[in-house]
Symmetry: C2
Subunit: 181 residues, 2 copies
DNA sequence: GAGGCCATGTAATGAGTTACATGATTAT
DNA sequence: ATAATCATGTAACTCATTACATGGCCTC
């Protein structure tokens, strides 16, 4: 049920084709918020069109169709954003791994955490650049949607790095880690 | 495909019944890592049993069956943990909302962020207590799995709060926010 | 003995992935 | 011309949720 709102939201920021949306889900937003494949996107665009929530605003080469939300679609999106979020139900394989680390031997767990730490710092740096680019392009302000998203990523990767760093030390100093007999 | 590893991991930390696992998915781990309903858990436990990856170690009242991983199951889990994580594909409705905030009027977006900020601080405080309890119970060390998970939550809620705080200010200072005509 | 929670299961439906399939345009 | 990428769609399958269904145990 969230996919439709993800699509409405992305289209509201920037009218796009199914192909464009597929790319946008594969990077950025797809890493922390939501992701979908083209085989799910195209049928959903069809449904949204049939329900009058989006419309084709432009057609281009290779059968390309650019969609944008209709006023009804914007209302739908607003209603969802202002409604109560239903918590829970998160799915993140990457985080799941970290939660299950205690099934490894301490040295192995430390090695995994080292990898995590490197990865988190890398991503953080990457997003820092992206954010700078967004700011530069938009002029002065930074509260535009690409900026918000990049900044969110920066904060969460920094948190991940800090945690990994702490966890590494905690495991090393915990003789009971791994509860192996 | 991740569900089976989530189950193996949870059972490795603490042998449990399907009912117990359902509860564990509903709180803690279910908020950031993975979640599942009992109707998915029971059939998966059956499959894992048939494949010899877990076994019933105890039966109790009301048909209660306590499962634990077999050596083969532990190997399976280890293999997955040490393998390469396939990135992307995260799903988090809560974060999705935040990404789509620019479809609201500035004042509305700020109100949502205020709610987010309160929520994040609340959760952080709650986990801080939980962590303290985990440390107290386990004796001195803090690297045991409940401690790791709680600590992860603390870091990510703190990051969320920091971001929400920043985003609030950024939106207020951005005249182009909401790109409404 | 009644109400609540513990405990397990199945069926129907919906969401999401992988694989199959096709063709137009662009750059080299 | 040929390879890469753009662009859309469908089919088969697996994963996940909601709803249906049943019964035992425990407390009051």
């Amino acid at each position: 049920m969230s996919l439709r709102f993800a699509l409405l939201g992305l289209l509201d920021v920037q009218p796009s084709s199914g192909y464009d949306l597929t790319q946008r889900f594969a990077r950025g937003i797809g890493s922390y918020a939501w992701s979908a494949k083209h085989s799910q996107i195209y049928p959903e665009l069809r449904k949204l069109t049939d329900e009058g929530l989006i419309e084709i605003t432009e057609t281009g080469a290779r059968g390309r169709k650019t969609y944008a939300p209709t006023p009804a679609g914007r209302e739908e999106l607003r209603g969802w954003l202002l409604g109560k979020p239903n918590a829970g139900g998160a799915r993140n394989e990457f985080v799941l791994r970290l939660f299950l680390l205690s099934s490894l031997e301490p040295e192995e767990a430390v090695a995994v955490l080292d990898g995590t730490l490197r990865f988190a710092r890398e991503q953080e740096a990457l997003l820092e650049q992206e954010f700078a680019a967004a700011v530069a392009e938009a002029g002065v302000p930074s509260g535009s949607s690409p900026g918000l998203a990049a900044r969110y990523g920066i904060h969460s990767y920094r948190a991940l790095a800090e945690w990994a760093d702490w966890a590494r030390a905690a495991i090393a100093g915990d003789p009971t880690f791994g509860h192996r007999r």
